[in-house]
């Protein structure tokens, strides 16, 4: 159980601080071919700030070595934005008066077709965290409708039971994205005011349940801005490396989403500068040379272009965070956050090509019956 490891590192970190790390520690970590936890911690320390360029060079080299010059493209499709939680940082907060919508199955098909027409083969399905409005059965129905149009379908929804993950897997879902939001339990309690999401451990263990259920990939991350970023990034790395070790057949991916403007008044308590975001991404890459790293459209176009060579393996492209909206006919619901990189799929593809990268639309084919029968 990752929970036990999480608890013991939490204790460990009470008598060890990032401020104690020396430049020598950072240099040693940089020199190691395989990094241990203490090396990872060193790369997240204030001392490592002076080493961003050598870290970036090594991260770039490791990424090329392990992934080549290719980037997988995917796009999100919001199925619904009903939510039963009160997360202070999120537009979908139950208290927010926003336009709530849920796509009908017919609309799901129209949206799916519109996305598939752009050439995208990997689709991430999202819902607000309301079991009532977007039940596992509804998600499974959407999955079965979308299966024929896509090579890979992922979900980013409220945490489920192992059996429910199994059922979605059977319907045709193959990857899970679930962000812990914040690993620190006190902050977690303070930003999730009400709703089922309040149970920190249930969310923390969702990736393990999905791995048990047979999922082929899991993406995790902390929502940067909610907690002390060094700790949050450290726990994300611990979590990812635990999953890699325990489920060697599952592709583990980390993401470093920074908080974006949203409907509501909450401002990040620990805002992250660009340099800090870079440090986090580099530390992830050096600690897990073969792990995937996703970059979302929360970052601006120039920022995404600059971050690309540092270790990114997956990009979302042409993303909409509103419910529906890819097809002209669909009436949309309010967005979860503001997209910062508004380029179309073609523009992202052109950018990748101009930088010598190959845009990959499909790196996996789910060989189970595409009709989801």
């Amino acid at each position: 159980m990752f929970f036990d490891e999480f608890k013991s590192w939490q204790k460990e970190l009470t008598h060890y601080s990032f401020e104690q790390v020396s430049q020598g520690d950072v240099e040693r970590a940089l020199g190691h071919e395989r990094l241990d936890f203490m090396d990872f911690l060193a790369l997240l320390s204030p001392a490592a700030k002076l080493y961003l360029e050598p870290m970036a060079q090594k991260a770039h080299r490791l990424t090329l070595q392990n992934f080549g010059k290719s980037i997988l493209l995917f796009t999100p499709l919001y199925l619904a934005n009903f939510c039963s939680n009160q997360c202070v940082y999120c537009s979908y907060n139950i208290k927010n008066k926003i336009l709530r919508r849920k796509l009908s199955l017919a609309e799901v098909e129209v949206e799916g077709k519109a996305i598939a027409e752009k050439g995208l083969q990997h689709l991430l399905l999202l819902t607000g965290e309301s079991r009532q409005a977007s039940s596992p059965e509804y998600i499974a129905d959407c999955t079965r409708i979308l299966r024929p149009y896509f090579a890979s379908l992922g979900i980013e929804v409220y945490p489920l039971e192992t059996q429910e993950y199994r059922e979605l897997y059977a319907a045709g879902i193959d990857t899970l994205t679930i962000y812990q939001e914040v690993y620190d339990e006190d902050i977690y309690a303070s930003v999730h005011l009400a709703g089922p999401k309040r149970i920190h451990r249930y969310r923390l263990e969702a990736p393990e349940r999905a791995c048990e259920a047979g999922f082929s990939g899991v993406t995790i991350g902390a929502l940067l801005g909610l907690g002390e970023w060094r700790k949050e990034a450290f726990f994300t790395g611990l979590h990812a490396s635990y999953l890699q070790k325990t489920y060697p057949d599952v592709e583990i991916v980390v993401s470093a989403p920074r908080m974006r403007p949203h409907a509501g008044s909450y401002k990040p308590q620990y805002p992250i500068t660009d340099a800090e975001l870079v440090q986090i991404l580099l530390a992830y890459r050096l600690f897990m040379p073969r792990g995937g790293i996703t970059l979302s459209t929360r970052e601006s176009a120039p920022m995404r272009d600059a971050l690309l060579p540092l270790g990114i393996t997956k990009l979302s492209a042409g993303s909409l965070t509103s419910v529906g909206g890819y097809a002209e006919s669909t009436e949309t619901g309010s967005a979860q956050f503001e997209v910062s990189d508004e380029r179309s799929v073609e523009e992202v593809v052109a950018m990748l090509r101009s930088k010598g990268y190959q845009p990959v639309f499909c790196d996996w084919v789910n060989l189970r019956d595409r009709r989801g029968a």
Binding site: L30, E33, L52, A56, Q57, P248, D274
Partner: protein
């Protein structure tokens, strides 16, 4: 002079609930006489020795090797001669019945040319013998999938080969062993192939828990000196591992900066 951290020197490891100080296991084969065995044990500082089980030449019985192994040394009988899991299980049971304790080094070899271990049979034997209460140390080809399965069936350690038995060719399987050290939480004991003390030191530097050495000591011109040399090498390698090896420099810093965009902030 700076004081050496005592923790570095007092650094036992555990197998099957037993704490061991020495990270050098020694084999007792190929020595010119049984009388050498206790001296080798002393010179090497070893706490675990291996031996094999064979049919007795009952018309001409000779002294048993066990009579030459000092008390307090852990006996690690191997199942050499076994070509299948079934035979290995049988040999293990016989060794235990002989009062040899419950440690067993599983060695299943079908290939008689290179004497390379049979991983699938080894796994079957390991699973059964763990169920029967043995402390199981399987000799294996360094394969991550097999090592993971050995770990999950309850092996006490895994013993990957560095090179074919008796070849004295060193850590030919270095990369694969490094992966086992990284991925498997059991002690990794490099068995077979280590021909020189420097190779034993390297295995320990990499993070191997211990090494098993036989041929290199037994066939040296001066076996006792060689046993001592291995003892020192293993201690040096372990201390180096604990001390944390210095950084190896990457190539010189590339000319086009990747973080230049940050200065524009």
């Amino acid at each position: 002079m700076q004081q050496v951290n005592c923790e570095l020197l007092n650094d036992p490891f555990e197998i099957g609930g037993q704490k061991l100080r020495s990270r050098l296991f020694t084999g007792t084969g190929k020595f010119s006489s049984h009388e050498l065995v206790p001296q080798i044990i002393e010179a090497s500082g070893t706490q675990v020795v291996t031996m094999a089980l064979r049919r007795l030449d009952w018309r001409n019985p000779q002294e048993n090797i066990l009579n030459y192994i000092p008390k307090g040394i852990t006996l690690l009988p191997n199942t050499s001669g076994a070509r299948t899991a079934e035979e290995a299980i049988r040999i293990a049971r016989l060794a235990k019945a002989a009062g040899c304790g419950n440690w067993i080094k599983i060695e299943v070899i079908q290939d008689q040319r290179y004497l390379l271990p049979d991983n699938p049979e080894t796994l079957i034997a390991a699973e059964q013998l763990v169920k029967e209460g043995f402390v199981v140390l399987p000799y294996m080809s360094p394969d991550l999938g097999t090592a993971r399965r050995l770990e999950s069936v309850g092996a006490a350690a895994v013993m990957p080969l560095g090179a074919p038995i008796g070849s004295n060719r060193g850590l030919q399987t270095r990369e694969l062993i490094r992966i086992l050290i990284e991925e498997i939480s059991l002690p990794i004991i490099v068995d077979a192939g280590i021909g020189r003390p420097s190779e034993a030191a390297e295995a320990l530097e990499m993070g191997a828990a211990a090494v098993l050495v036989n041929t290199a000591i037994a066939t040296a011109d001066q076996p006792l000196e060689m046993a001592h040399a291995f003892r020192l090498a293993v201690e040096a390698g372990r201390s180096a591992y604990l001390a944390g090896l210095g950084a190896r420099r990457d190539q010189a810093e590339a000319s086009s900066p990747l973080t230049g965009f940050l200065r524009e902030e």
